[in-house]
């Protein structure tokens, strides 16, 4: 299994869309840095991400979420929040980490 990491806003870059296109079912995706905007309810990307939650485990880095004035209750249902230790665990539990730069 792969942990995919996305660190850019889906509004600014194509990395989230590209990642979701090529991640296989069952893979995990971590949204961090400006990537956290992809995890939020109410955005133009909510449907894309809600769809992805059905086949992938999606995580968002809480410290990056809070830095940007967002809270866990703004996060799309089914997305789990993690801290840096959780990020490390995800990297360890998966077979490889693929960054979508």
């Amino acid at each position: 299994m792969t942990l995919h990491t996305v660190n850019k806003s889906p509004f600014d870059r194509n990395s989230l869309e590209s990642c979701l296109r090529l991640a296989r079912p069952g893979h995990s995706v971590l949204l961090f840095e400006d990537g956290i905007y992809g995890a939020l309810k109410g955005t133009r990307f909510e449907q894309l991400v809600t769809e992805a939650v059905k086949s992938n485990s999606i995580y968002v880095l809480l410290p990056d979420l809070e830095a940007r004035g967002m809270r866990a209750d703004k996060v799309i249902d089914g997305i789990k929040t993690v801290d840096y230790a959780g990020f490390v665990n995800l990297a360890a539990e998966n077979t490889r980490v693929q960054a979508w730069l």
Binding site: T5, P63, F87, V88, A91, A92, V97
Partner: protein, 130 residues
Amino acid sequence: MKFGILVNEGPYQHQSSDSAYMFTKAALENGHEIYRVFFYHDGVNNGTRLTVPPQDDRHIVNRWTELGKEHNLDLVVCIAAAQRRGLLDENEAKRQGKDANNIAEGFRISGLGQLIEAGIQSDRLVVFGD
């Protein structure tokens, strides 16, 4: 578990260096090993001792140096990327006929092979970039 870390961006401009630091610290705190932190592209600029950030801000370079000292980390700056961007140690400065060097304590300059080696020897390689 052994992690290798790749940092592709310099300090302050992008969060990549901050994220890589927080990840590295958390990995160490949770009992993992860091095989090597490799600084590539503008990431080499994390290794300069000449930064003077505002006093109320984090000191990215010193933070790496201190974490490195505490955990005996191998902080490696890519030589080819460093030459393009003006990051030199004493030897390199001498070899290139430059009158100054700017590498920070705890960093060393070496070749790209060290990145491949980190890929081979680490259980996981984690990349932080733009």
